[in-house]
Symmetry: C2
Subunit: 477 residues, 2 copies
Amino acid sequence: MVKRERWRQDFSGWFNDVLQEADIMDTRYPVKGLYVWRPYGMKLRNLVFSILKQLHESSGHQEVLFPLLIPETLFQKEAEHIRGFGGQVYWVTHGGHQKLDVKLALRPTSETSMYPMFALWIRTHADLPIKVYQVVNVFRYETKMTKPLIRLREVTTFKEAHTAHATAEEAEAQVREAIKIYRKFYDELGVPYIVSKRPPWDTFAGAVYSIAFDTVTPDGKALQIGTIHNLGQNFAKVYGLKYEAVDGKHHHVYQTCYGISERAVAATIMAHGDDAGLCLPPDVAPIQVVIVPIPFKEKETPVENVAAQVKEELTSTGLRAHLDDRDLRPGNKFYHWERRGVPLRIEIGPKDVEKDQVTAVRRDTGERLTIARKSMKKQVGEILKQITDHLRERAKRSFEALVNSAVDLKSARELLKKQGGIIRVPWCGRESCGKLIAEKAEAEMLGEEIGAGPQPEAKCPICSDPATVNALLAKTY
Amino acid sequence: MVKRERWRQDFSGWFNDVLQEADIMDTRYPVKGLYVWRPYGMKLRNLVFSILKQLHESSGHQEVLFPLLIPETLFQKEAEHIRGFGGQVYWVTHGGHQKLDVKLALRPTSETSMYPMFALWIRTHADLPIKVYQVVNVFRYETKMTKPLIRLREVTTFKEAHTAHATAEEAEAQVREAIKIYRKFYDELGVPYIVSKRPPWDTFAGAVYSIAFDTVTPDGKALQIGTIHNLGQNFAKVYGLKYEAVDGKHHHVYQTCYGISERAVAATIMAHGDDAGLCLPPDVAPIQVVIVPIPFKEKETPVENVAAQVKEELTSTGLRAHLDDRDLRPGNKFYHWERRGVPLRIEIGPKDVEKDQVTAVRRDTGERLTIARKSMKKQVGEILKQITDHLRERAKRSFEALVNSAVDLKSARELLKKQGGIIRVPWCGRESCGKLIAEKAEAEMLGEEIGAGPQPEAKCPICSDPATVNALLAKTY
């Protein structure tokens, strides 16, 4: 069984090594907060985001693509929004050798480029709902420490969905649909999460309220991996998004938006990795099965032939199989693919050829299995399924060990100091109490937990009134 | 047969109408040269570029993703390159409320962001060749008139490939491979083209020479739809791209790069369209077959059931089929899908149900066909193939009518005035003669034709020396 010690104790070092050794990213680009996706990482990214895109398509979202550049005049219309993002916006001021008349923002998110166009698209109730999404690069002038895939100045891969509805109820229903989509997405990746409603002081700039998905890093910090915002009519009023109802009257629309960035890739890497490096769920592994021939002298040809056949057989079932026929020692190849998190390795030596079998080695457990050639296709499929389940379960166990409850703030603070993670404490729901809870626990408040309430009789640790919700506390990335 | 009169005589108006009516782009974004991809256009774009990506993957190119922002210090290292692009670069000068220490260019193309990283990736000959590509947004501060899909300030969809090789011969071979890939790509789209080597005064900034693909718009102008550059060692020397050869000596690498933008989508639209609007080749049509039920009163149910079955049957064969069951008159539906270029419409009325048949109508020719249900799957496949072939042939004929030869510059000039297109004239190959040829023909010189030489005994119309190549002349976009 592969260990997860360095993974836990030196997560930051472990993570950077994985990005490099598994050919995910090059972190040496000479501008702070900008990184280069390398080929293997790019394949992983595309597989992860194709699941997310598919979930959007199948629930009636349509893909669009809006410009990166937003004129200052449009960008600054929504006052809350500019207050929230103003300090982080990159500004284009010159084109060629000329100063621009109106400076242009690199989108930090696309409400202000999209909604003026929505205003042109919406005439009557028949034009609603609008449900669109795009996968684009967005920019934030981060002043904090940047970190590949996690805190970026160019978020290279931002899936942002934007919707418009006739009624507040439909917008509420859309928030629920978005939560469902994000649950499915992270369930498929085997990434554990907790869902909460962000507190008022941490709501998206311009939103009525914000829902967030958080996971926990191996070193016990909360990491936000998805957000969903109910925008109410705030943007609709600023950008004039009105529709004519059946009765001939004009109303502003209700809107939602929700986004997931390449942190989804980071979360997948950290949820399943171990001290041997990357360990990928088969669904998103660029190579699901690697075949390594182990030729002995004078028996090269049959081994190589069988290896090629095995590759063909597996590929024909739709698997991403790769034959490593490089002129290297098998041990070097094992190491190479282990670091890249390939879920299953198939070794083929002279004995395997003789006995009409293959030897399979699981990346997640290290377990060796002997499989008869004639049942190989079926069994490989089953093993990959077992790997998926095992990774999901293991990640869930690690996560659940780090999500705990406390009834008072002293024990919350001590738990956070000792092992980090996310701590539930009962909360009356008042903003003033919430701020004090976070302060006294020396942590951030993620928000109130969605889908679970406080224990009966639980009291707010500040005012001692009955608790109405669980507050989630954590140190955050 | 649908006509192509407006398509030819008012191409610009025709093109803008198609973009709007077929839901390709919204051209009302309030910044010059920036446009919005709408859902149907986005699907078309993705299908077109998935062919191009597949051609790169299957020839050993690996997808990567580099940052958009390039520090001025890096960008300005290659002197020719900055001379070529300097006047067109957008500059980010501020992050939040701060002025940046080093201003950042929005990439107009990625040589200057990629090659410094290549320098880190290349150590020995074993690291070569490098063959990577990315599909990204690039920016040019165009001062000319902008036009959706054709002349943009944000090119939203730029496939750029970049390679590095040990020898000049390998770089030459890579140029040939790139030409082959681009030929296959445009052949699959049924877009006709001519390939030429751009003249020295129109070579890519920093390249040794440039190869270009041009097509002809319906109104007779040449449109560049792909370029391939042999960069020699120019960038390698500036950015220090060196490898250690087998003999232990260090050499600079040889490089190539080649790009295709969303003009590929424009070229597809214009090659096949007609006066009824968009007309798409089945390979890239977001909907390949639309099924329209024609219910008569009291016979609604069987018609609707059969329509749903037909949709299922076609979808199960891997076709992109859509059942239009909206509550609209069939005529409105016909018009709607005709404008969107759906290659084949299947109508199902009570008579069709009775006779166990369907009625198919081709978008390209308007031809109506009666097809027995039991052979439908097979026949629909065949008809789509015929449509593909017919569109390719028709586009080719239109193109060839516009590519002509002239032996003297007066007839070249007159032909260009009369009908536009591309005119071949014999050329000795000297730069000074070439410039005069273009000037006297009152046209641009695309370059010397690749794959075809001048007639025997042909003479350069300027110096009367024997012609060595065909110069291609045209008015250009």
